[in-house]
């Protein structure tokens, strides 16, 4: 299902959920070999000797999965890019065989007076494992096109609308 929402289509408190992706050991190792080649992300023996006790996914991998799930849902129409300050807390490790799903909620909205046709949409992104434990907690601002701009009725002199 795709939503294809523009900035004005969102409201505070809107929530979206995704399906799950099961994270396999080979996916964990492949990602880590390229981006985070610490021993406990790529070797069973090394991970067994580490406080975690078994191979676990790089935190950068779990974040990438979250944003992949977000993009796949097609929540935001056209394009969105990162604005503002992104904050992430890695709460629990992700092990091979865990299934990660995400929930997103709109927590703040701001029209951008300096950038007519764009709005700042702050969302919480929360990733859960199959036991419904929070594995990653994230807050992120997306810069999103307004419907007016997409439909070509925003001019340089107009703003994207009142502050919501």
């Amino acid at each position: 299902m795709t939503y294809d929402l523009y900035f004005d289509d969102f409201s505070l408190g809107d929530r979206f959920t995704t399906g799950g992706i099961t994270v396999t050991e080979s996916a964990i190792i492949d990602f880590a070999l390229q981006w985070d080649p610490q021993t406990f992300h790529v070797s069973r023996e090394a991970a067994a000797a580490h406080p975690m006790g078994q191979i676990f996914a790089s935190g950068f991998h779990t974040i990438s999965i979250m944003f992949r799930l977000f993009a796949q849902e097609g929540i935001i129409a056209k394009c969105s890019f990162a604005g503002g300050d992104l904050q992430v807390k890695w709460q629990k490790p992700v092990f091979a065989g865990d299934t990660i799903r995400c929930e997103f909620e709109v927590v703040e909205m701001r029209a951008l007076k300096s950038r007519p046709g764009l709005g700042a949409l702050k969302m919480s992104h929360t990733a859960y494992n199959q036991k419904d434990e929070v594995v990653v907690d994230c807050e992120c601002t997306h810069i999103v096109t307004t419907r007016a701009k997409a439909e070509g009725i925003v001019t340089k002199s107009s703003t994207a609308g009142d502050r919501v």
Partner: protein, 154 residues
């Protein structure tokens, strides 16, 4: 670990690090975006032209992954027991195909763990800069670091 371990007490406030340079090739930008950030302006020139950027640019997630790769390659001996998270991650300037990035960082915060005295939280302020010296990304990054080899044992 083949590298000399870096423990909590080795990381004094103000300790600086500077990594090697990494080139963001067009092929790598597209490949990463396909896997993790499949938006049109990370995948094709047409998609780029139609976007607010006016051209194909790298995904912020990709720039972020490169930051970690460079950071780790420069300090492979860091005795990390857990990654905690990061704060104030922001992207200042788009990254174009062919840009080269370097990471510069400094320890700005540290405190022993309340519950586990054999480890502590260390915070770094990092920036990725491009070949023109422009900061493209900045963040504060927090890791739990062991005080000694005992904390790294399973």
């Amino acid at each position: 670990m083949s590298a000399n371990p870096i423990y909590y007490d080795d990381l004094h406030i103000g300790r600086r690090v500077e990594t090697a340079w990494h080139e963001m090739t067009r092929e790598a930008i597209i490949a990463f975006a396909r896997d993790f950030d499949p938006q049109p302006f990370h995948l094709t020139d047409e998609g780029g032209k139609a976007s607010a950027f006016g051209r194909l640019v790298a995904s912020g997630l990709h720039t972020f992954a490169v930051f970690n790769k460079l950071r780790l390659a420069t300090e492979p001996g860091l005795a990390i027991t857990a990654g905690l998270g990061f704060d104030k991650l922001r992207f200042m300037v788009p990254v174009d195909p062919g840009d080269r990035l370097q990471v510069r960082g400094e320890v700005f915060e540290k405190r022993l763990s309340g519950s586990k005295p054999d480890r502590g939280v260390v915070g770094w302020k990092y920036q990725s800069v491009n070949q023109r010296g422009e900061p493209v990304m900045g963040l504060e990054f927090f890791l739990m670091i062991a005080k000694g080899p005992e904390a790294m044992a399973g």
